[in-house]
Chain length 311, copies 4
Amino acid sequence: MPKTRNWQWYIEKQSEHEAHMHAITRTIYSGNTKFQNIGIVESPVHGKMLILDGDTQSAQADEFIYHESLVHPALILHSHPKNILILGGGEGATLREILAHKTVEKVVMIDIDKDVIELSKKYLPEWSEGAFDNPKVKTIYMDARKYLEETKDIYDVIISDLTEPLPDGPSHKLFTREFFKIVKNHLTPDGIFALQASKADYHYLKLHAIIYKTVKSVFKTTYSFAARVPAFDTMWGFIISSDRGDLMQVTKEEIDSRISKRVERILKYYDGTTHQHLFSLPRYHREKLDEETEILADARPLVAIETGTIF
Amino acid sequence: MPKTRNWQWYIEKQSEHEAHMHAITRTIYSGNTKFQNIGIVESPVHGKMLILDGDTQSAQADEFIYHESLVHPALILHSHPKNILILGGGEGATLREILAHKTVEKVVMIDIDKDVIELSKKYLPEWSEGAFDNPKVKTIYMDARKYLEETKDIYDVIISDLTEPLPDGPSHKLFTREFFKIVKNHLTPDGIFALQASKADYHYLKLHAIIYKTVKSVFKTTYSFAARVPAFDTMWGFIISSDRGDLMQVTKEEIDSRISKRVERILKYYDGTTHQHLFSLPRYHREKLDEETEILADARPLVAIETGTIF
Amino acid sequence: MPKTRNWQWYIEKQSEHEAHMHAITRTIYSGNTKFQNIGIVESPVHGKMLILDGDTQSAQADEFIYHESLVHPALILHSHPKNILILGGGEGATLREILAHKTVEKVVMIDIDKDVIELSKKYLPEWSEGAFDNPKVKTIYMDARKYLEETKDIYDVIISDLTEPLPDGPSHKLFTREFFKIVKNHLTPDGIFALQASKADYHYLKLHAIIYKTVKSVFKTTYSFAARVPAFDTMWGFIISSDRGDLMQVTKEEIDSRISKRVERILKYYDGTTHQHLFSLPRYHREKLDEETEILADARPLVAIETGTIF
Amino acid sequence: MPKTRNWQWYIEKQSEHEAHMHAITRTIYSGNTKFQNIGIVESPVHGKMLILDGDTQSAQADEFIYHESLVHPALILHSHPKNILILGGGEGATLREILAHKTVEKVVMIDIDKDVIELSKKYLPEWSEGAFDNPKVKTIYMDARKYLEETKDIYDVIISDLTEPLPDGPSHKLFTREFFKIVKNHLTPDGIFALQASKADYHYLKLHAIIYKTVKSVFKTTYSFAARVPAFDTMWGFIISSDRGDLMQVTKEEIDSRISKRVERILKYYDGTTHQHLFSLPRYHREKLDEETEILADARPLVAIETGTIF
């Protein structure tokens, strides 16, 4: 019997001074696409993990927390979401959660990196569960901003599931005020925009707060929320936004009722009580959002706060 | 100017397969007490950190999250807390939070390890802010169980702020059904018991769930809740319990009102909205509590789940 | 251009209290054979690395130091080596070095783990440089001890290039006094036996000294020597042995002369001066060899000294 | 009994891609002097370790290897060393080794950082063994270059035991051609200069080779040598130099004889055989020295090659 000691480690840096060590039992894939470095590894705790440019994108054991948080509040708060647009979302799990809603008729997914989608289909089929083959789905490989600048299509819900806006990464022009205005122009009047919006942990709330303030400068109603995703080793931030004024005026009982009517399967994270958890933010989180004054613009795009050396 | 590179690290193990790396800029103290290994170090992210037997106990930057979560729900949900007992709580921050309540007349603190208290007073004065010198406070150095078995004193609120029940540590007999019955016998009829109750993260909920079920087997009303404490690199679990049936029947507005009337200073974590956040648990958390069937007893005390080697 | 940060690490444990961290840019292969866990990774410093059960076996950049040390002293000190036996040596580099000697007519290689050889041929062709296809070579997949117990073949030089004798690994019965007697029975009267013999660093000389004393109890002449192999993060020990009394009576000029006559290509590590370096051991090394009294026997085989947990 | 897990680590970076992890059981001192960051820690393997700016300077268990290599070849190759100068050498172990020579009448030690000497006396008395109190010794706290530029004193042996010439560290002007000329001007005609000269490992020989070529450009005779110092996790390079032509023309028997006549106690590392080991360099080491063409000058001082980030 081979005796496997822990010798392979994935070390994810949080900042210059902190990192998380994950023992890995197997490297399933490691290489470079045209846009990013990609790793698919297996951890005894988190199962398969997808890593882009050194950052965990999602992990088998807890990706449901991330993807349910990103998708369901947006779709449940909408009265009847039919046409959905995903920006990014390469693994296909955002797609999977959207397709669980019976109201959905069409999903367009725009991802710049075809390799990530192909590798996810091949090595991470548990994420997409065949979603890419659903006839309601159309996948387009291009820059999300370019797509929105060219298309005339209008959506009920737009979900942004893009990578962190690292200076060298492919996403840094997709978190600016100008871009969010373009997004808004492709929503119906009661449309909803939801986005993953970086870490939202006590020591790392600034980036999230900046994105929040940028989105808020474009839409009438904007909420921040955060979920604990263990594989990310932090709280993860999201934003939901709309031009409707009554977006959050729904009871937890109504949320449970909408889920049971509209969603085809049992959710593991999101329900009425979890909704109340997510949207009742701890005091320091609310205060840091209030204090933030920066806004991202094309002329001043988001660059990573966490630079520098850890040793 | 000396150039300091990151060469000192505090590596906290979560399990056989995971660890968190903290760069440390200074070791303020490291040694052994009669009961445990103690380290006081400084991190550029977390400030001063108190480490017992390799586990973070609290950190300067975010101990307010832990201590406000442990103390304020218990005292605010009580109508008029006067006499308080702390089990453990060596750093003095639990004491500090209790003393912020104007209703409090007497606090007794029982800690087995005098060295931890003395070292905390000397090196971590920001934690206790002079609380040990408050005339309302009486500190007794002895085993918490022995104290409760011998005393006839009765308290409005009892707060357990003990170390993890490691097999070799000093706390493993303080998390059993028998012990919780002894605790109950020293509460007034409407008294409240709150305790720190181990990690409560998705992958590490079992210990918390077992403690929850054990407390629940003794009291009429028992709630689990969890706060994100970044220095612990996880969600941290707490339990609040009482023989009152109406413990949680209070609105968030009423909580804010009680805080403003009874608490002498501004809180940074806890308020009505945070209360709603804490007590609206994510779905998987509720389900794992429901599924747990183990109960701890003197004949079957809690032992650490995380054993084994990481390399 | 993808931006690759160091996120994959190979951490090799030296003892309970020490480890070496290697950033890896690519995992070429990771899996289990019937006998051991195998990893093939790429380091920016060491090039491709072969890892068995968590221990570095050889690395592209410096395997020449290890393999030249293991092979050339033995063949050069022999007057005319024709028939050679290798025990282990899966990567094929020991074979490569042997085949560089013009005197060699036949090499038999016995390795229990066919998968290691096949994976080395596929992923590490720089090691063997086609040596496995040389018509002088015969490869047999079986336990080395079983082979020697059954064969009547006699060799000029026998080279043992086996993995560390870990309790659970496939090699622990191949480092005993009884086994070395079997080896001796398959050598010609002036035959030479050379073996890799574990770490030989100041803090980790015991295992090497024990193997040395065990071999010495079987042969008339036995020498220990050690080479610095950076990828192993230590000094690596070797032993050379014979029943000849004059084994080492050769000048460095004679060694250079034999190399230039007999070896087909330029060596990068071994020559007359290096020979003098290798066989002039530092004082503490000589003393620790002298002090060692243990002998390995079938009834008391070698088990790893470095056990236990590092965190 | 307190249960101590390995939670404190000293991680020494070798390059952007490699690091060595040392568990530490105790931090004895950590702070900043006027010139450098200093740590004194205890490792279960290496005993007490002195760390300046993140680099190991010496460790209790194996400092004898480093200090015997630095001092004894220089003093033994001299016919009758009386007056000795040490540049740097704060811990006092270089001094200790020099004082073991009966011929020595005077030792002057120049160190810029009085704090390192005071802390070493207090926390590392095993290094100096009272050497600072020896009446033959004079300690001067000043920049070594300034001292040599001002003094008219002449020495039999000058030993440079300075820290690595990091750009921000205090030693970068003490490794240039101009400086070595100043050193030479303070030697007697048959005087000897020995210096610690950075890592000399296969992947990290460049800095050593540059220093070697710089010294060689100033003196008639220059030798490189290297010793394995486990606490440094590498081979450590030294240089010995003189204007004598016959410096190395001494047999190993003569070395042993001089040691027994002149040195008051038993050495643990250095003797005639070790001398032969040290000065018979592996082939690649000799070749890399030969290939090096750079020379350090005041206008082009040595800067650290190992810069950059490891994560």
